[in-house]
Amino acid sequence: MLMVVTRCNGIKPRRGEANVHAAPAWRPAWLVSVWLSLVAPVPSAFAASPSADSGPGLTEQEFLADVPMVLTVSRLAQPIEEAPAPVTVIDREMIKASGFRDLAQLFRLVPGFITVAQRGGFPAVLYGVDDDFARRMQVLVDGRSIYTPSFGGVEWGNLPLEIEDIERIEVIRGPNAATYGANSFFGVINVVTRHAAQDPGALVSVTKGDHQVEHGVARYSATAGRLSYRLTAGYHQDGGFVTLHDTLRVKRVSMRADYQISNSDSFQFQAGHNQGTDATGRAGQLFDPQRELDIDSHFAQMRWQRALSADSELMLQYYHTRYRTTDEFAVALASPAVTLPVDFNSSATRDNLELQHTLKPLEQLRVVWGMEARSDKVRAPRYFNKPSVKNDLRRVYGNAEWRATPDVLVNLGAMWEDNDITAADVSPRVALNYRLRQGHTVRVSVSRATRTPVLLEQQADEVFQVGPIVDRVLFSSGGLRSERIQAIELGYLGQWLENRLAVDARVHRDEVEDLIMQTRRIALPPSLDNVDGARDFINAGDLTLTGFETQVKFTPGPGLRLIGNYSYLQLRAEDFNGGDGLRLSDFAALSEAMPKHNFGLLAIARFNEQLQGSLGYYRLSGAQWAGGDPLPHTTKLDLRLAYGFKFGANRGEWQFVAQDIYSDYLELERNNRRDMRFYLNLGFQF
């Protein structure tokens, strides 16, 4: 997968009470049947040994025969020093060593990134300036946008994706609309899953911990002739914060099939389904009682790729996603006799078609261009006061990478996007990478990006009505402009000590215009509201971010690896636009909304063939969290021990993980407290 320039680029054997949840992981029968129908056309391939194709023994055919293009241009990572933006890669070793079981937590390993949760099952990954809805970052899984169209952000707890199936995560720090489209505002997360051929065999992993932690993952992958496929099923339960009613329970099933049509053409099909409950609410809260939300999501994605040559490729991709939350309860008004049925149900679907062409027209020039059409539909009557709302968008993008001299690389890119919510935008970027000498590169880049308001910001109309009394809670007056960012940065990438020490550092300055904020309650005409006004969304003002970020990867010796990151961020919210319902002080508070210092360290030690240990230390300075409470600095210390063993030709591993062992850990709100927790995991591969 070429980063930045191109885009893409678990059965339930729970320990003890296996009978309780044994069947449900397999419930989405349609998925299994889709999988079976894919596998069915090649039954003979199962019976035949793969070597049958190549005849008995070694012949000249081994030397002469053509084989499929495997490392096509979109599967190859761009060297970090040639990328037009800073890129952090989270690899499989880091994922495992971190001890994190939830995808969102992994971003603690990225400079400047913050993971916080309003409640356990609903974490948010923040970068730059954001609140717990995290609307200012694009998130993709294999090129499929999982940024939700309705409220923005990502439903991290509602994704049909197991951590075991992730190949690596590429995080681009800084705007990157030129290649990833609008909403690639402060950053882009690109999760890349493993090719179906990469893990032949079966995997079973069971985890049990305190705080209701239980995970079970089972996976089977195989290759039959030209088809490789993988089926993964999982069950996950986590009690979340000790102080909250926020237990998350989900079951997931996902599959991926890679079919090699010819040596240059490949077809990929992926599908997944996630279903579960997400506890929320507080005891004694009339309008937010303790309850369980039913959540589910599914997706189907297909991609055809043709390798035109080693340097050029054509890709056509279509995907469909749906996220759904069912949240219905009754509010007892005055007496149990007068109840108000409330539903916050929501459902959001996305259909997306994309064509991308990578080519190398000249020896020194590489070009990626593409176009995309998307249709988002949201049904959330409570929030919009109408059956459904929608947004269609179209975009065309391109990036040219020109190697002016062997040491100078120039990237020029732009994206044009038009959507139903705001006017068409053009987001350009220019970057220059200069190699001082082998292993030392400086990068200067200037880029612009926009964030289109999400449907809620533009069209919210949340109304409660009891008899003649109308209470509007949210009311978008509409007419929002896109948020715009102009970013300039200077970066350095260096390799030291015979490549055992890699340094990535940058200073950046980002000017954000027309930041969208929620207002305090504003008065509405009595015809619209009889109670106390509603909240609106407005383009509140401009702010400036200046900062420094660094990541250091160091391998002091065999068996020890250190990954450290640090960031300093200064926010200045100075240009207040004024506007109804918002005070200067509300806007100015943004200056303190994010921690100034963010430090993380992951140390991975291999003691011997069997025993591995890792330590994760994460520290955030204090902040007056947007969407949360003012909190002092927080420190999180995690430890993991892993013991690998063999049974016959197969491999197994015990893992013991202790999290938050240094002190209790507060997140976003005073009430959101995590205390020390443990879990034990046993995994088998055969």
Partner: protein, 320 residues
Amino acid sequence: MSVAHSFGMARRQIAALALLCTALLVGHAGAAPPARVAVVLSAEGGAYAEVAEAIRSGLARDGGERFRVAIMDAGTVTGALEADPATLVVTVGMRAASAVQEIAPRTPVLYTLVPKAALDRLLAAQKGGAKRSGIYLDQPLERQLELIKLIIPAATRVGVIFGPDSAKQASALESVAASIGLKVEAEAVTSSEQVAVALRRVLERGEVLLGLPDPEVFNQATVHNLLLAAYRAGDPVFAFSPAYIKAGALAGVFSSSGQIGMQAAEMIAKLAGQAAWPEPQYPKYFTVTVNQTVARSMGIPIEEERALHQKLQPVAGAGS
């Protein structure tokens, strides 16, 4: 991507001159009828036809009027040889080699386009007496390992997965590797299903992966996992065929059909009429191929193919 270079021009001229001198001394120049060379192809077209064509043009250039080349198909070779008996048979590919082996003529046979393992088996099965030799399709291990040293000078551990066919080379590979300061980290498999586990171990211990041809190790079913896993592990793959370079291996040395044919023509010109035939030889002419896209992505600084080829020349003849 691949650039073939012709080398050994001078050597060829000297060989031709030597032949001419011998002919003059013996005094049969021009007088003897041309030797009949039957080139037996395993299949029509493709690499087989390229070898035949290179033999024909090589003999026309070096042998003058001394040779008459007839091209035959392995399926009909028995009848064809009866109708037009040959002084010397050249087989191209396994099928042709087996066909000629079966009819076992007393005629001298030069086997080409056959892997070393198969050629050694053919020669071992040969009853003594008849003149037999050949050109291996495989590159000498020295040449393959030297290429690794040239591209990754810091490499000390070479990962290899042996299959049922390639396992015979294990001890040879280890001693050649040791002689140039490399250690072989090997795993052996007996079937394709075991490749994934072996690969994981080999990638953990080795710094590069050397591909040795074996249908149980390198095939359609394993190629994705092999190349993707090696790439993700940061271990460059050195391959045995241009197709694997195109698929995503980093580099390799190979001989094209034309290069094999050229060498065959030289051997025929030299061996015709000789009483004792030498042992089979490794390819003399070869090409270095690099996948620059993969090299760039892996951050491996790599020289031009031509420069690498020139540096490999001094070890080119070794091991034959």
